[in-house]
Symmetry: C2
Subunit: 540 residues, 2 copies
């Protein structure tokens, strides 16, 4: 496809840009295949606003006879308003934005065109993988093995090619287990707790169905997981009632009778449409201009967003308690095993594992638990809070994760090696990016599109010295202890840095961060160079 | 009176102290005339908890046959629980606490007994006064004079001995004006804006009453205030309806007819009992152990506290706008002129005047606008949020001020020279203190009790090198600009550092402050000594 087909008017002069925090400015607006570019005409220093079309969630147009206004609402929650002279031009621009911001084909998205000078397509792609994790965790090798069973994605389309499974279970058995789990997502190890040898395993729901079907291999696999200990815990991210109901549509849960050494605990987590609607309500509340305090607090409550944050942190805390405090292995799953399951396994690892709390460690964790584990980013992040499009499979699970991590970061401001800026950046990149990291829904799709050879890797880019500095926490002091978040309602706060980031006040907070950063940099420069050998690392 | 009369049991062994954030400890509990002292028996390092009895807002006792539990709820919102062996002993201790924590006589309070080694009663008392302010502001001297009219407190019992008034008004006229204003609080200058020569003046309401009485001298005084400019603004901290109703009980407002060059604006601020109840509800909500997020948000909303913060900041912003942006002088008053009036004049000065934003400048501002201006601390701070005593004249106006200043501090983290710790300390000291600064209701009472010769001054103590460090803002970067607070509901937050300070999470935030402080100290030590000559100062 030629992008130019969709661009009737490429340039408009004398456009007025209005944007919170900035005075209105006049300049030229250009539409290209992937961007909206506004350059203001102020003499001396030209100001550019470059906006990825993919970042645009919704546009609103108001057309008068000789001009029009286009309001662009972005997936990163920013809002820009362009006053455009000429009705025709305005309509053309609006049409271009509408079409080009929602191109279906992945290959036409910007990551396949982005070629910055300091990156090479030969650079390493990604930071971590199941293989490297397995190699690092030598203690695992006795009882666990790496299987390449899924090398052609035929056993589980949403899993990567390799998985860590108990040695006691061979590939033939795994194939049967995969058939018994929704989407083929058989139980795989995602975390090994060195301190006591316990593990976290995740999967999708078993397909026991209305007839309470069993799968002997599945039972054996789970038995093998807790080999040598008295019992394990299954954390089901649905209510007990929801799990029961799932049987009517072919799903189900691990019954006490068939999995007698596993204790099942249910924690109802909101998902899918309800979660998306919660985000929409919250963003609407944040944008409300009413000066009424009661109205704001009541809308905040009504959105239920903070309740979802609380439930996620509390469920992750439960998993962490099972593994770290009580010394039991845990299996986590809900229905598909691609959303709440990953949210909980990621948060639980952050709580108990210091290695996940460095900048690299955290990105590697996201890569394993979200990118490779098959969170369907393309479906979930197709639209954000402003779109009026009918909800399909959108859900802000990843934003919820970032929010929960921010709560941890706020409660333990010294314990995490990365900054709030990283969480903000990641939350935006998941929706629209120059990089290939968050595109497609799983490894198979990324392989088919050649993502790893034709796009650049965000995580690698974030670790480059030029970027890295702003994403580290200047106050980081590694601790080997678990960081148990308080989940009292009073302890959880709205993530203002994200939800109100385009308003005045978030601005002031950045100043503080900047000030602290400058100070630490200066300080470090004056003192000896920092000793990085103390950082937690996962290597054996 | 002998305190010992009220102490039947002075010492109890084997008492168990339970307190949030600390493991329970066993030790000895002593009651003295002014303190509750708990020393734990752990070998090696003895831990002491020393609690001013005056700090105790309410006690609850649960007595069993051979022991009892006393729960002590403090005015600084902390809660301590003592398990005491022996029913008799427990009852004795409870009785002592009840009596000694609410002694009526000011002379029996601890400030009159507190004699630390590094203080002398000959030390300077206080930091600022009307006289010093007048001396500094030489630009005032043309049109304003210092009157000693109130030297024996006969004209206005709640004012200090001197006041700054227009030269055009002589002392005889002032006496008449004082008779026309509630409690004799005639209009006095509290702030001179060097940038444009405008002033802030404050008073109580005029006693126009049902018959619309006039006072020619009052009209002349206000006329003289705006001499040379076209008009002034009266910010009335009551709704227009409340101001009308006040006429029925002898009060009133400045009518357009009699004060034709003054424009009156009404801003309804909550006061007295309603404000106290708001605090009680908020503290109750903060202590609620329910894990329900909706319940918490709904209780927060219900307390209305944040609405009061918003109204105060918005009214202060309005005053600041009049003076700084529009270049008009302002008269502020509500009814008595001892509460909301002072709140607004203080906040407005912080917004527009850089000199008030240093540690010294802020304390001096509090001294002039609260201590000397006659905020009745003894009445307002008799009880805090836990007491079941019938509300008399209690109202947390000063706590509300501290909260509003904290909001400013949060929105402009570099612009204020003092730390959150200072606000926390002041909010506690106003209710119970070793120092004489916050005792009594006005200058006259303090004079009668000999406060300035028989107690130590808190503000002087806070500026001693040993204390000072923790009360300065390590990130302070003076700005000459006004700091306009955002009063969007989304921009205002619960002051967690105060309302949740005794819970886990506030704890973590202190770590950050500590870390930053250490860094800055180290940094400053390494660099040249800091250049303090840049600090804003009020001297001419």
């Amino acid at each position: 496809m030629e992008f130019s087909e969709h661009i009737k008017t490429a340039n408009v002069e004398d456009v007025l840009l209005r944007q919170p925090l900035h005075p209105p400015t006049r300049g030229t607006l250009c539409v290209t295949g992937h961007h909206l570019l506004f350059s203001d005409r102020a003499e001396g220093d030209t100001r550019h606003v470059l906006l990825l079309l993919r970042n645009i969630d919704a546009i609103e147009k108001r057309i008068a006879t000789s001009s029009g206004t286009i309001t662009v609402k972005c997936k990163d929650l920013s809002v820009l308003r362009f006053d455009i002279p000429g009705m025709e031009q305005c309509l053309n621009i609006a049409r271009s934005i509408e079409t080009l911001s929602s191109l279906d084909s992945v290959l036409e998205t910007y990551p396949f065109f982005y070629r910055p000078a300091d990156h090479s397509l030969q650079d390493q792609w990604g930071l971590s993988s199941t293989e490297t994790y397995y190699t690092q965790m030598v203690e695992l090798h006795d009882r666990w093995r790496l299987t390449e069973l899924n090398r052609d994605y035929s056993v589980c389309p949403s899993y990567p090619t390799s998985a860590i499974v108990p040695k006691a279970v061979d590939d033939d058995m795994l194939v049967k287990v995969a058939k018994f789990r929704q989407g083929g997502r058989f139980p795989v190890l995602c975390y090994y707790h060195r301190k006591n040898g316990m593990v976290m395993v995740r999967s999708s729901q078993p397909l026991s169905g209305a007839n309470r079907k069993r799968c002997r291999e599945d039972e054996l696999l789970l038995q093998a997981v807790i080999e040598g200990s008295d019992k394990g815990f299954i954390i089901d991210t649905r209510s007990s009632q929801q799990a029961q109901q799932a049987r009517m549509t072919g799903g189900g849960f691990e019954s006490k009778a068939c999995y007698d050494r596993w204790k099942r605990l249910h924690r109802q987590m909101e998902r899918g449409k309800a979660l998306q609607e919660s985000l929409i309500k919250l963003v609407e509340a944040c944008g409300d201009q009413s000066p009424n305090m009661d109205r704001w607090l009541s809308k905040l409550e009504n959105s239920k967003w903070l309740s979802h944050v609380q439930t996620a942190l509390s469920t992750a805390g439960l998993v962490a308690e099972c593994v770290e405090r009580d010394g039991h292995s845990v299996l986590i799953h809900g229905s598909e095993g691609t959303d709440s399951t990953l949210l909980i396994s990621t948060l639980a690892q952050l709580i108990i594992e210091p290695c996940c709390r460095t900048l690299e460690g955290f990105l590697a964790l996201l890569e394993r638990e979200w990118i490779q584990a098959g969170h369907p980013f393309q479906l979930r992040c197709a639209h954000s809070a402003y779109s009026h499009a009918r909800l399909q499979q959108e859900a802000p699970v990843f934003v919820l994760l970032m929010d929960c991590v921010w709560q941890l970061w706020r409660q333990f401001p010294l314990a995490l090696g990365f900054s709030e800026a990283l969480l903000l950046r990641l939350a935006s990149e998941a929706y629209a990016s120059n990089y290939g990291t968050f595109i497609c829904n799983n490894d198979q799709e990324r392989e088919a599109q050649g993502v790893k050879t034709k796009t650049h890797c965000l995580f690698q880019a974030l670790l480059k010295p030029s970027e890295r500095e702003q994403y580290t926490n200047p106050l980081y002091e590694p601790t080997k202890l678990a960081i148990w978040p308080s989940i009292h309602p009073q302890s959880l706060q709205l993530w203002r840095g994200f939800f109100l980031r385009w308003t005045e006040q978030a601005h002031h907070l950045e100043e503080v961060q900047e000030e602290i950063r400058t100070m630490v940099t200066e300080w470090t420069r004056l003192m000896l160079s920092p000793d990085v050998s103390d950082l937690p690392t996962c290597s054996a």
